[in-house]
C-alpha cells in the first residue's frame, strides 16, 4: 500500500509542479541578487540572505529560509489535506477500503507519502539552491571583498567590488569555507552536517503541519477545506507568536520554534530551541495523528 501511495504521489503532475514552483522562488531571488548585488543588510530580511553574496555555498540555507514561511507549509498542507479528503471527493476512497485496504494502513501509507513529499521538496530546494548559489553567486566571494583568496575557489573576479559595506562580519579563515552566523568558519563536512540537521528539523516542522492537515482531511470530504484549515491554524499560531499578551501559550504554538534550525549554523550549535522545536512538533504529530486515526477508523464512509 505504501508503494501504491508513492506511485500515486510521484505520478501526479501536481507534485512536480509544486516542487518546481517551490524551487523557483529561491532561484528568482538569486537572479535578482546576482544582477543588483543588493542583498539585505545583516540582521534584516530573510535569514542568511545577507551572507550569500559573500558565499554562494550558504545559499541552500537562505533558500530554505525563503520557502519556509509560506511556500513550504502551503504545499505540505495541500498535499496532506488532500490525502484522505481528496480520495473521498474523487470517490476512490470507498473503492480502496473495500479492496480492502485497512483504514489504519491507509492512514499510515498516506503519512509516509506526505513525509516523502516533504523530504522531496526540501531536498529539491536544497540541491537547486546549492547549484544556484555556486553558479550564480559563486563560491566564497571572500576574494572579491579584499580578503586573501585561498583554495582557488574564487568566483568571477570583480563582481563584488562595490560591496565593501557588506563585508563579512568576521574574518574569513580559509578560502572556500563558509562562515557560521557566529563568525567562525565551517568546513565542508560541517556545513553538510548542519544543512542535514536543518533539513531534518524543517521536515519535522512540516510534519506538524501535515499531521494537522491529515486530521482535518479525515473530518471533511473537501480537500480544499482541510488544507485551508491547517493553514488557518498556522496563521493563528503566527499571530500569537508575535503577540506579547500571548506569552503564556507561546512555547506550545506549532510555529514558535520554526526558525530554530538557524541555530544549526551557529558555532557551537545552539541546541536549546532546536530541541524544544523537535519536542513540540513531536507532540503535535502524535496528538493529531492519534486524533486522525481515531476519527478515520470509526467513521462512516458516505462519500
Amino acid at each position: 500500500m505504501i508503494g501504491v501511495e508513492l506511485v500515486k504521489l510521484l505520478r501526479r503532475p501536481r507534485t512536480w509542479i509544486s516542487v518546481v514552483l517551490t524551487c523557483a522562488l529561491p532561484f528568482l531571488v538569486a537572479i535578482f541578487i546576482m544582477i543588483t548585488h543588493l542583498a539585505p543588510p545583516p540582521g534584516q530580511g530573510s535569514a542568511f540572505l545577507s551572507a550569500v553574496l559573500q558565499n554562494g555555498e550558504l545559499y541552500p540555507a537562505a533558500a530554505l529560509a525563503l520557502v519556509l514561511p509560506v511556500f513550504l507549509p502551503v504545499a505540505v498542507a495541500v498535499v496532506a489535506g488532500d490525502s484522505i479528503a481528496g480520495e473521498a471527493s474523487t470517490g476512490t476512497l470507498r473503492y480502496l477500503l473495500v479492496r480492502p485496504v485497512g483504514r489504519t494502513r491507509l492512514l499510515v501509507a498516506k503519512l509516509v507519502s506526505v513525509i516523502v513529499y516533504v523530504l522531496l521538496v526540501v531536498l529539491a530546494v536544497t540541491v537547486t539552491a546549492y547549484a544556484t548559489g555556486v553558479f550564480l553567486l559563486g563560491p566564497s566571494r571572500a576574494a572579491a571583498v579584499g580578503q586573501p583568496p585561498g583554495g582557488g575557489a574564487a568566483g568571477p573576479g570583480g563582481a563584488g567590488t562595490g560591496l565593501a559595506g557588506q563585508a563579512p562580519t568576521a574574518g574569513q579563515a580559509a578560502g572556500g569555507a563558509v562562515t557560521s552566523l557566529s563568525g567562525t568558519p565551517l568546513g565542508l563536512w560541517q556545513l553538510t552536517e548542519r544543512i542535514a540537521g536543518a533539513i531534518a528539523f524543517i521536515t519535522v516542522s512540516m510534519l506538524g503541519v501535515a499531521a494537522i492537515a491529515l486530521f482535518l482531511s479525515t473530518i471533511t470530504d473537501s480537500a480544499l477545506g482541510s488544507a485551508l484549515g491547517a493553514l488557518a491554524a498556522l496563521v493563528a499560531s503566527e499571530v500569537l507568536v508575535t503577540l506579547n499578551a500571548a506569552t503564556v501559550v507561546q512555547p506550545y504554538l506549532p510555529t514558535r520554534y520554526w526558525l530554530a534550525w538557524i541555530d544549526f549554523f551557529r558555532q557551537p550549535v545552539f541546541w536549546r530551541d532546536i530541541q524544544r522545536g523537535f519536542g513540540i512538533q513531536a507532540v503535535y504529530v502524535v496528538v493529531f495523528l492519534a486524533a486522525a486515526w481515531a476519527n478515520f477508523s470509526t467513521k462512516d464512509i458516505t462519500a
Binding site: K8, G91, Y95, L97
Partner: protein, 342 residues
Amino acid sequence: MIVTRALTKRYGPVTAVRSVDLDVREGDRYGLLGPNGSGKTTLVRMLLALVYATSGEIEVMGRRMPRHAREVLPQIGALIEEPAAYPHLSGRANLALLDAAGPGGLAARRTRRRRVGEALEQVGLAGVDRRPVKAYSLGMRQRLGLAAVLIRRPRLLVLDEPGNGLDPRGIRDLRELLTSLNETGVTVFLSSHLLAEVEQLCTRVGVLDAGRLVLQDDLAVLRAPTGLIGVDTPDGDQAAALLDGQVERRDGPHLLVRYKDAAALNARLVGAGLRVSAIGAHQRTLEDIVLSVTGAGSDHIAGSSELEGRGADWTEERGTSDEGRRRLKAPRKRAGNRDVSS
C-alpha cells in the same frame, strides 16, 4: 451468502435503514429495489463495512461483518454508486494500482497484468489506449468500474446502481455479463431503482421502502400467474356483458377475467362474434408488485388495495402519496369513458 438480522442504521434523528432482515442465497441474482432515498446505498455500504450499523447483525459468506472484513472483502467485487478512478492515470494504470493496494502479495503481482487485461476484455474495453481516465466518456468509466470489480474474480458481486450512465447497449452488455458470471457460480446482489433492469436480470428481489424491507421473495413466485386471464378486445362492452360476473376489472379495451383457461375463453368470445386482439394468462409485473408495497408505510389505508394487481401499463409516475394516486387514477377513468362512448 448475505444475511442480516434486524439491521438498523440511524444518522442522528434520521433512521436510514430500520430492522432489515436480508437473505441473499448463494447463486442468487438478487435485486434490491426501492425509490431514491429508501436506504439502498446505506444498506449496501453497511454490507461492505464502509458504514457501521447502529444495531443488528451482518453475515457475509458466513462471516460476521465488519469484524471479518479482511477475510470477506477480498472475495467481493463491489461497485458503489458511481465508479471512481484517478483522472490523470490511464484505465489500465488505475486497475493495476487498485489491485496493488490490497492484499494478494507476490502471487497477485505476477498475474496482475493478465488479470487487468482479462477484466478490460470482459467489459468491452480491451482496445483501450493510454488515454487518462479524465478523457473517458461516462459509459467508459462505468465499464472501467465494472472491470475493477471483476479483476479479482470475486464470488460475490455487490453492485449499487450498476446501470447508471450506461446506454441501452451498455445495459444489455451488463445484463449478459452478469448472467454469464452468475452461471459460473458468482452470486450477484445489485440495487437499483430501475424496475425493468431488475425484472430482466434478477431471480430474487427485495423491496426497500423508507428504510424497511417490505418485500423479499423469488421473482418467479411473485410473478406467478394470478389465475386471471387478460383479454384485449375492441368489443369491450359486449365482452363485459357476455362474461358478466366473471370480469374482475375492466379498463377500456383491457379486461381481466376469472376463467380457467385462456384458450377456452378465447373460443367463447370468438364464438359470440367478438374480436380478440390479445389474450393470455395474467401476470403481475414487477412494477405492480413494487408499487403495491412501497409507500404503504405512511398512508397504507387509502387505495392500497385498489393498487393491488392493477393493470399492466402504469406510467412512470409513482403514486406514493394519496395525491399522486388520485392524479394517476383520474385520467385513466376518462380514458375508459372515451372508449365506451366511441
